[in-house]
Symmetry: C2
Subunit: 572 residues, 2 copies
C-alpha cells in the first residue's frame, strides 16, 4: 500500500555507501515555530514538495500600521517546479490567511476539506483571485498519488469542522502532520477517525509533526459538548436580550447557539461581517442548520420582546472595530446596550488581546449589562489538545522521529518532554527554528542546511518587503515626535534668504512652544552665520550643523531629543 517500499533491504544493508547516496526526506517550517500563527510546513523528497498550510499571524502592537504577517516563501518560489500541492489542514486564519499572497507569487493547486475550501473561496473572492486558482476539495478517504510521495488524511476534532491530520507517504515511511487538534470524544460534529490514526501508526511512521499550542496545560481539553450544555443553561437564566460573541470560524459553537436559541424560543440576529459570512457559508455547506424564519434582520429587532432576541456577533477578542465593541461604545447604528441585556464572551483572549477584552467588558458593565466571561462559566473550551491529548496522539502515531510544531519555543520544549515520556529518546526529537531542515533517512535523521525564511508584513492588502525599516522609522517618530527645520539659502553666497522655519509634530505643544521655537530659530541663524563667515556654503555641512545644533538646543531646553529633519533649499 505504501507507495515506495521497493528495495528497503538493499539500502539498509549497504549502510556505509548509503550514507552519502540516498536522498533524504526533508522537513522544514516557514512559519509556526517559535511563534503562534503563520503556519506553513514543507515535506520534500527528490523533485517533489508538499506544502502544508499557509497562515498569517497578527503583529505585536509595536508594529504600527501593519495588519498581519505572513511567511517569506522565497525558498518555495525558487523551487516552484517541485511543488505538487498546498494542502490545508483546516480553515482558520493562522492556516489559510496567507493564501492570497502566496498564490500571487506561486501558481499551485490547493487542497482542503469542504468547509476549508468554502472559506478559501470566500477569501479569494474578496481579493478578486477566485478564477485564477485551482481548488480541490478532499474527503477523508481520498489519496493523492504523486511520483514519489502520496498524501492522505485522517479526520480530527478542533474548534472548526473539517479539521484533518495529513499523512505524506514517503519512500522511508509516513510523515504525519496533525494540524490543530484535540481529542473530543463527544464532539458536536463528526468524531475523529481514531481507527485511521491507529492504522497509520500501526504501519510505522517515520516522523510526526504535532500541534504544541496547549503543551503547558495539564489533563485533557474539555469537550465541546460541555460548552453546549453550559450555553443552554445560561440562556435559560436570561430574561432580557442575549448578545453572544465568539469566533466566527467556530461553526460548532454557532450550531450550539442556534440549538439553544430554538429551545429558548429566541430569534437570531447576526451582526458583524465575518459572522454573516460564517452563517452563510455554514448554512450553504450544511454545517449550520437553522429552522426557517428564525434568522431575522437587525432592522426588525424591535418587533420582538427582549426575551425573544439572541444577537450573535463578532468582537469576542475586543477588536475595536468589531460589532460588539461598537455596540458597547454606542457606535452601532441599530443596537445599543441597555440594563437587562446579558453579554456572553464565548472565547478566551488570545495573548495580547487581554486589555482590549477587559475594556469592552468594563464598558458593557457600565451600561448595566450582565456580562459573562472568562472562567466564571464553562462557556468556552480550547480547540487545542492539552498534555494528555498530546500523549494520546504520540501513542497512536508512535513515530520514529518527532518534530513539535505550532507554538512558541517553550511550548515546543514542553511537547518534547512529553514525547520523551512516551518513550522517544532525546536524539529523535528535533526542536527546529524557522528555515532549519531535518534530513530524514530510513534509520537516521540529522539537521540539514538552512533555507531562507522570515516575515513579510502585509498592510492594506499589500505585501511590504522592506516595511521593517519603515516600522523602525515610524517607531522613532512615535517616541518623541519630529522637528522640521526649513530654510532657503543663496547657493553662491550662503546668505539665508528665508527661514529658518521650525515646525513640530508630537514633540511640544505648539501653542505653548512658540517662544521656544522662535529662540531655536535665532540660535540657528547665529550658528549658521558664524559658519558662513569661515567657509563657503556646503549644503551637506550645513545640514549636519543644523541637525547637531538643534539636537543640542532641544536637549538643553526640553530635556528630550526629537527626530530632527533639516531641509535646505538652494536658490542659485
Amino acid at each position: 500500500m505504501n507507495v515506495a517500499t521497493e528495495k528497503p533491504t538493499q539500502v539498509a544493508k549497504n549502510n556505509r555507501r548509503s550514507n552519502s547516496s540516498p536522498p533524504p526526506v526533508r522537513v522544514y517550517s516557514l512559519g509556526g515555530l517559535g511563534e503562534i500563527g503563520k503556519n506553513m510546513y514543507g515535506v520534500e523528497y527528490k523533485n517533489e514538495i508538499i506544502i502544508i498550510d499557509a497562515g498569517l499571524k497578527f503583529p505585536e502592537s509595536r508594529l504600527t500600521g501593519i495588519d498581519y504577517i505572513i511567511p517569506d516563501i522565497t525558498y518555495l518560489i525558487e523551487n516552484r517546479h517541485k511543488i505538487k500541492g498546498l494542502f490545508l489542514t483546516h480553515g482558520h486564519e493562522d492556516h489559510i490567511g496567507a493564501l492570497p499572497f502566496v498564490l500571487r507569487q506561486l501558481s499551485v493547486p490547493v487542497y482542503g476539506g469542504p468547509l476549508t475550501i468554502g472559506l478559501v473561496k470566500a477569501k479569494l473572492e474578496e481579493y478578486r483571485m477566485l478564477g485564477e486558482v485551482k481548488l480541490h476539495v478532499y474527503e477523508e478517504s481520498d489519496r493523492f498519488q504523486f511520483q514519489h510521495l502520496a498524501v492522505h488524511f485522517f479526520r480530527t476534532t478542533h474548534s472548526i469542522p473539517d479539521a484533518f491530520g495529513i499523512v505524506i507517504d514517503t519512500p522511508y515511511g509516513a510523515v504525519v502532520h496533525t494540524g490543530d487538534f484535540k481529542f473530543d470524544f463527544t464532539p458536536e460534529d463528526r468524531p475523529a477517525d481514531l481507527f485511521k490514526m491507529a492504522a497509520v501508526g500501526g504501519e510505522g511512521v517515520l516522523a510526526l509533526l504535532a500541534d504544541s499550542t496547549n503543551s503547558e496545560k495539564e489533563g485533557f481539553t474539555p469537550s465541546e459538548r460541555k460548552v453546549g450544555t453550559s450555553i443552554l443553561e445560561t440562556f435559560r437564566q436570561c430574561e432580557g436580550r442575549i448578545l453572544f460573541a465568539t469566533f466566527a470560524s467556530n461553526v460548532h459553537r454557532l450550531q450550539q447557539v442556534v440549538d439553544a436559541a430554538i429551545l429558548c424560543n429566541r430569534k437570531i440576529v447576526v451582526i458583524g461581517r465575518s459572522m454573516d459570512k460564517a452563517f452563510s457559508i455554514g448554512q450553504d455547506l450544511g454545517y449550520i442548520r437553522i429552522p426557517d424564519g428564525m434568522l431575522i434582520d437587525v432592522k426588525h429587532i424591535d418587533r420582538y420582546e427582549d426575551r425573544q432576541i439572541l444577537i450573535v456577533c463578532t468582537g469576542s477578542q475586543g477588536e475595536p472595530n468589531a460589532a460588539l465593541s461598537r455596540i458597547a461604545s454606542g457606535a452601532h447604528r441599530t443596537v445599543q446596550i441597555y440594563p437587562g441585556d446579558t453579554v456572553i464572551f464565548s472565547s478566551s483572549p488570545i495573548p495580547g488581546n487581554g486589555q482590549n477584552v477587559n475594556r469592552v467588558i468594563d464598558t458593557l458593565m457600565r451600561a448595566d449589562a450582565n456580562v459573562i466571561y472568562g472562567s466564571i462559566f464553562d462557556i468556552h473550551t480550547s480547540g487545542h489538545g492539552n498534555r494528555e491529548d498530546l500523549k494520546l496522539m504520540l501513542s497512536f502515531i508512535r513515530p520514529k522521529y518527532f518534530i513539535p510544531i505550532h507554538g512558541e519555543y517553550r511550548m515546543l520544549l514542553r511537547h518534547k518532554d512529553l514525547a520523551i515520556q512516551t518513550g522517544l529518546t532525546e536524539d529523535r526529537v528535533f526542536l527546529l527554528n524557522l528555515g532549519e531542515t531535518v534530513s530524514i533517512y530510513r534509520n537516521r535523521a540529522k539537521r540539514g542546511r538552512t533555507i531562507p525564511s522570515g516575515e513579510v508584513f502585509v498592510s492594506n492588502g499589500e505585501m511590504r518587503v522592506q516595511e521593517e525599516q519603515l516600522v523602525e522609522e515610524r517607531l522613532e517618530l512615535s517616541q518623541e515626535g519630529i522637528v522640521i527645520v526649513v530654510m532657503t539659502v543663496d547657493g553662491k553666497t550662503g546668505q539665508i534668504l528665508a527661514g529658518p522655519d521650525i515646525v513640530t509634530r508630537g514633540f511640544v505643544y505648539m501653542q505653548d512652544a512658540r517662544p521656544l521655537l522662535r529662540r531655536a530659530e535665532t540660535v540657528l541663524k547665529r550658528n549658521l552665520a558664524k559658519m558662513a563667515e569661515k567657509q563657503a556654503f556646503d549644503k551637506a555641512v550645513w545640514l549636519r550643523s543644523v541637525h547637531k545644533s538643534m539636537r543640542k538646543y532641544f536637549m538643553k531646553e526640553v530635556g528630550r531629543a526629537p527626530h530632527i529633519m533639516p531641509s535646505i533649499l538652494e536658490v542659485k
Copy 2:
C-alpha cells in the same frame, strides 16, 4: 476615644432639619477606580482633608514616549489649606510613585510605615527633593489627632512589609481604607492585627473602602509560607547556577530567597538597580537579614562554582531594560546564560506584560536554561485577597456603607456582589468613578458633586499636561509615516524659486521611492503653476493646495495617505 462623638443624639433626633444643615463626610478617589494603579483617595470633613496614597500607573503600549501616568490633583491644589496630611498604606509604586510630582505642587506632610518611608526617602533623593518634604514614620499604635478627624492604623499582610489599613475617625463614625491586603495566617513577617480590625468593626464603622484587585478569584489567596517552601524545594533540585527574578519590593520574598540560599550553601549576587536598592533599604531597616560574607559582587562570580551561586535580579515582568532581559539577550556585561542554569520567575505577569515575559522565557530556553515560571510550581502567590479574604474583611469591619476601590470596573462590581452577600443592601454600596464624591452623614449617604480628576502623563521625569494631544499626533505619524514638502517662492510673483523637495520618514522605502517622489514633485509644480496663472500668490491657499494634491497623489499611487506637512518659504 473617638474624637468627635459629642452631641450624637441631638443630630440623630432632629432628623428633618439635619438634612440640610450638618456637613457631610465626603469620600472620593482621584485614582484607582476603573483602573489598576495611580491610587489616591480623599476623606474630607468641613475644613479638613486626609489624603490616602499617591500612586502611579504604567501606560498602555499605544501611549508611546510616556513613562507613567499620575492623578490630576487640581482639586487638592485648590483646597490645599484643608489638607492635614498624606497617609501612605504601603510602599508599592502604585501607592507612592506619584509622590515626587504631587509634592512639587503641594506642600504637605507625608506619613507612612517604616519601610514605606524608607522607600519614599530613596525616591525623593533620586528627584533631589529629600530636604523639602516633612516625612513622618507611623507605628501601628500611633494616632494622629486633627481638629475634627483622627487617623490611626491596623497592620495587614501584603506582598511588602509594613502594609497598613488606615482608619479615619469622623464625627459620624470611622472611615476605613484597607490599602492592599490579603489574609495570610502564616506570613513571613509580622501577622495582621486581627484584634484591631475586630475592635474597629465592633465600634461601628461608617464606611469601608476595600481593595478589589482579586475580587474575581475564588477562595483564599495562598500564604507566602507555601511559596517559601516551594522555593527551598526548587533550589535543592538545582545543580547549576540559579537566577531568581521577582519584584524588588517584595521584601518577604527576598528574605525567603536568602533563607533558601543559606540552607543550600549558595552565595548571593544582586543585579539590577531597584534590586540593589531593595536589598540595601531592606537590610538597613532590618527587614532582610543576611549573614556576613554571603552577598558577593558580580565581579567575583567566577571565584565560585556554579552550584554555589544564586543571582537575584529584576526583570520578572520581561521589562526590556531590566537585568534579566539583558542577561537573557547576551547584553549584560558580566553575566551570560549557559546550559545548566536555572531561571526562576517568582511573579505573575501584570496584564499587558505577558508577551514580554514570554519573549524572555523563550530566549532563556533557547540558551538551554531550565526555566521555571507560571503555574508549574507554587513559586509565587498574589499579595491581594481573593473572594474569601474579601468576605472576611467585610465581616470584620461591618461597615454601614461600602465603596469598593482598587480595580477595574468589573472587579469593583464583583466586590459589590460580595458585599451584598455579606448582608449589605444595594443602596449602601457606592460604585464610583474617578472624581465622583459620596456625601456620608450619620444615617444616610448620597452621591455628591463631581470634583476635577484625570490623568497626567509623566515622561523623562516631567509632568506633561497637554501630552495627550502630542500622543495623538505621534500615533498619527506612527500609522503611515510622514511626507514633508518644502519649497521657496517669490512672495510677489508666486514664482517657485527652489523645490518643491519631498522627503519622507516611515512612509515608503526611500531607495525605491525616488521615482515616485520625483513624479510627485512634477505633479505639484504643474498644479501650482496653474494656480499661479489664475490668482495672486497666497501662502495659505498654496499650503492647502499642496496638502490636497499630495494626498490625492499618494492615495492613487500607493493606496495610503501619510501625514503630509507642506512648508513654503517666501523670499521677498
